[in-house]
Symmetry: C2
Subunit: 226 residues, 2 copies
DNA sequence: CGGTGTGAAAGTTTTCACAGCG
DNA sequence: CGCTGTGAAAACTTTCACACCG
């Protein structure tokens, strides 16, 4: 410990970190931000774990992938740990994002305030429908998707969101990749084919409900079996 | 194999099934529905795996948790497997759903067509804001959240969605639980405290972007290290 | 004390590899 | 022959338990 505390930018992620650990880091960060806002200075691994439903050991192991952030007998200093986790996740700097597809859901996402909280901002939105191009929604003028490459280049944008219908999603992905985008959040209910150097994350709203349906159904099956 | 094929409703889920397996079942189902729509009759585990980026063995093991669905030398019959997976997930019957919170995102979800595809339909939407109550959005009249228990009871609804701001989410959850809801999809960026008999699934849009930020950043770190 | 960081043990999930079937 | 279903092995993740620190 002592004077060997990771400096900003210096993330000792030598060993490959499991995805599930990274997703918990996001949860820790979210909780810490709430705690800090409520005035809490420090927190122990067991307190943090309890708030999220994890064990204390898991919290410590997860953080251990990235460095040593705690103080024995004290716990973690919220402010410091928040900064460290934002370094890990890469959100200490702003991320401009482009959106492709401005239907129902796209419009709602344009108005969603939660992105800003973690340093993301939707800088441009595109659609292929001429009726939509030129409209201003949530203060953003919708552009034709042909303008995507120029905007991505000029603004140095690296992340994109796909919010088009399923049948248009692969085409949208291809356009984003061609424009040089490095990471895609896909809201369309299809599996995208992407080159290995492009990262992606998918959100399928119907699948979330399906998972819940299974959980509720199998819980009932269990209760019935007792 | 032969004549010991699971019947509708008879899901031999004796052993406890890992969550990650259930989430892949949803992906298999989504892909199979696409294949069936395009006219494909049968599919092998390796074809299905390739489409989704999994190994053939993983597909077979996952399905093996629930029964025997394949034909050696042939593969799986799409139509049959779709039906079996919907039985597993519990989506061969319709699921009415209530929504609490009709802001930006809630309104977009009310208009989202993708839910119907998997047999979910939003049957009622609630808000605490008197200015919203009584409005009709996407053909649904917004009701005051005080009416939630009566609607849940009269329509026999078991699933709910929370689409309120973070600070209101726990209160919304408490109301849903009190009304007798058994499963909750939570779109608010907070961890809910729920009784053990209530299931939940969370979607935090900022966290999805954060995961992408990490993936893109660490990929770059790796590329730089080469 | 109260708490971290971390090897070693336990538990879980994935991959392998092959018998068996139509 | 092509493909499933499945034990056994390998890989991975979580939990345990304890040395060490302030």
């Amino acid at each position: 410990m002592t004077d060997f505390r990771p400096q900003p930018g210096e993330i000792p992620s030598d060993a490959t970190v499991p995805k599930v650990v990274v997703s918990r880091i996001s949860l820790y960060l979210r909780e810490l931000q709430r705690l800090e806002a409520s005035g809490q200075q420090t927190i122990s691994s067991s307190q943090l774990g309890t708030l999220l439903g994890f064990s204390d050991a898991q919290v410590r192991k997860d953080l251990g992938f990235f460095g040593q952030f705690g103080y024995p007998g004290v716990g973690y200093r919220c402010e410091e740990l928040i900064h460290a986790m934002r370094d890990i996740l890469g959100t200490n700097h702003a991320w401009p994002v482009v959106m492709v597809g401005v239907g129902n859901l796209g419009q709602a996402l344009l108005g969603y305030r939660g992105f800003g909280r973690q340093n993301f901002s939707i800088e441009a939105a595109f659609d292929a429908d001429p009726a939509k191009v030129g409209q201003t929604i949530q203060g953003l003028r919708i552009q034709h998707v042909d303008e995507l490459p120029a905007v991505v280049k000029s603004k140095g944008i690296r992340l994109g969101m796909i919010v088009v219908p399923a049948v248009r999603a692969q085409e949208a992905a291809d356009r984003l990749v061609a424009a040089g985008i490095e990471g895609i959040v896909n809201f369309a209910p299809v599996t995208l084919t992407l080159p290995a150097h492009v990262q992606s994350v998918s959100v399928d709203l119907a699948i979330e409900l399906e998972q819940l349906s299974f959980a509720v159904t199998s819980k009932l099956a269990k209760a019935g079996a007792l």
